[in-house]
Symmetry: D2
Subunit: 208 residues, 4 copies
């Protein structure tokens, strides 16, 4: 790909490509390192084409801190600042690539968003706590992605290590389950991810 | 299969398009009624193209009979006769289309394979009992699909009504859980669907 | 409740014995038909003794109406009027008896609370959507039962038939998922069953 | 407790009290350290009495080793030698005590059987992969416990640390998923725990 890349929908090996479509502003910086020839990636126009024709498979991970008994003590949410300074908080989310296992996609997106020292504990079972269907049309499900029909397998993933989100306008903030259930925080989560977070809390038995 | 087969891998709204790729012989008969211009469907070359670039989202349904207490008494498997007379047995399986909910895809494929009077009881929760990853390469997971990388959400679906599989070389046979676990029947299930069936039996508490 | 109450905590084959302990006022009417010698039941003092020494196994069922695609359209809650006229709403709940299967306990309690024509569809899998731990001490979990330490397997159970709750001060009211999530209704559910209901809604993908 | 303890059904804070009842031979050695007055425990005759009247709540844990992507590589089974030298292999299993959370019971039994350095990763969600109903009568379910009606919540638990089973005739042996599915090993697992193990393997996607 030659010349300046401004395209919000560039593939970029899914970096920042969360299912609710809020991470677009961070794409450009990453593009410098990438080439179109990396196997398994899609050229921008190819992805666009497929998004219009098929549901796209995603994973959503809810990063949590747990105590020795496995109980969730904190939930980690990525902080992003939009073009107009709006705050949004998102889960770890991204596309599953061709010939990539779901657990490898989970690991890849967690490493990408939380850094290489996060030590995520990918679940032993692939049974997700739910399947989130992001439609480009509002109101069909609680989830919405204007770019595409994305179907996301959602997992609660304990992370034991040191989380260092990438520098480009991202931060990771830890919330208690009670804080994570609050209406205020819910409003900062776009595309229905607030609902998905509540489902994760319910699954982990810490929804209040 | 006699005569010229123009489009063995034709989309056909996924009819017979089970995830393990064994229902191809039945495509032709169905093609007569279809046009490639139906919205939401893919032209043959489009589907081919996408299969080479992205994981394709599927659903697998294990049709079961249950008693009043919900216990599985029988499992329904589709019978297919291959080109050389080989018997294969498959689950109800098919692709999720663009802008189609997973539960609607389940309903559509169950109706297509079991007939309009089967009265399937689609689960209230979308949480699948497992996620089956069919790879075009053997040995990565227990599941295999030479055509594509398909990721399938798998559900046990009680059917209460009268099942009449479509006429084209298909039949539906009911087995007890014990029969369904037998090595002989397992061998008749291609693409790892025997393993998926055992996972369903395990989930329903009737694996022996 | 007027007059001498001989056995408020009488076993009564668990009738009205919901896990949050709010159905006690309805025990007396039922006692007329029962004897303490029915096999499998416990004499009042025996149950009291065990409640002080062991966790007691319960089931909680969330009765729902679903459409053809399995999506939850309504949730049924039992209405109870307390001694001072306070309204409380509860799930279908009760103890698992000695030598009784969990699915038979589910069926028994659903029939008892919703009548013989409710046609509940007991799940094919015993995997509950959560395990609710009711402690006699407040604050350990979201669930509370002053009488005992009860551990309850919780299921969403579609009911297809005609629901006629028993006459003794009970009614069954159907709510939309949105109504069921409302703070007002949550406040009417004692013992943490409001949280359990939200977990059920989250599991079924209809928590708002 | 003074004098020689021969009673197989002694409470002993559940040590060795696996749901299938095969660990009895190891009770005696442990009794030396215990007193009947420890809060939360039951005197032998009390437990006997309750076992005849109520289902007893258990947990079953399947200890596994996982790789970085969460995939199960090995399953740990406890080795026990019966009175006549018969080999039996069991899961980590034990009773939930009064006023004890399920996750604390899991932790306690895993520490007891695998030692204090096993570092078990108790699941964030209490949703078990199945509920195993051990009946004193054969043939009602695949699980059997001659002593009692036990209902067990079953979990797959990754253990990251060093496992040192207690010395009294126990050992812990790690098997590959394929070995764990073998008929030979299945035969060495009493009380239906072989079936439960297969359900765990199915849940983790490694049943062959």
């Amino acid at each position: 790909m030659s010349g300046p890349v401004r395209s919000c929908s560039t593939e970029c090996a899914d970096d920042g490509d969360d299912a609710s479509g809020t991470g677009r502003a961070t794409y450009d910086a990453r593009m410098a390192d990438m080439t179109e020839t990396t196997p398994g990636w899609l050229a921008p126009n190819e992805l666009e084409q497929m998004r219009a024709r098929m549901p796209i498979l995603y994973v959503d991970a809810v990063p949590v801190r747990v105590d020795d008994s496995g109980e969730v003590t904190h939930i980690g949410l990525l902080l992003r600042i939009g073009p107009e300074g709006t705050v949004s908080r998102t889960l770890v989310s991204g596309r599953v690539q061709h010939h990539e296992r779901v657990r490898d996609a989970l690991l890849r997106h967690l490493e990408k968003d939380l850094g290489p020292m996060a030590l995520p504990r990918i679940p032993a079972s692939l049974q997700p706590f739910t399947v989130a269907e992001y439609f480009p049309t509002l109101g069909i499900t609680p989830y919405h992605d204007p770019r595409q029909h994305a179907v996301s397998l959602a997992y609660v993933v304990p992370v034991a290590g040191d989380c260092r989100p990438r520098q480009d306008a991202l931060d990771l903030v830890w919330f208690t389950p009670q804080e994570a259930s609050s209406p205020q925080l819910q409003e900062e989560m776009p595309g229905g991810q607030g609902v998905l977070l509540k489902q994760a809390l319910a699954h982990a038995g810490c929804l209040s």
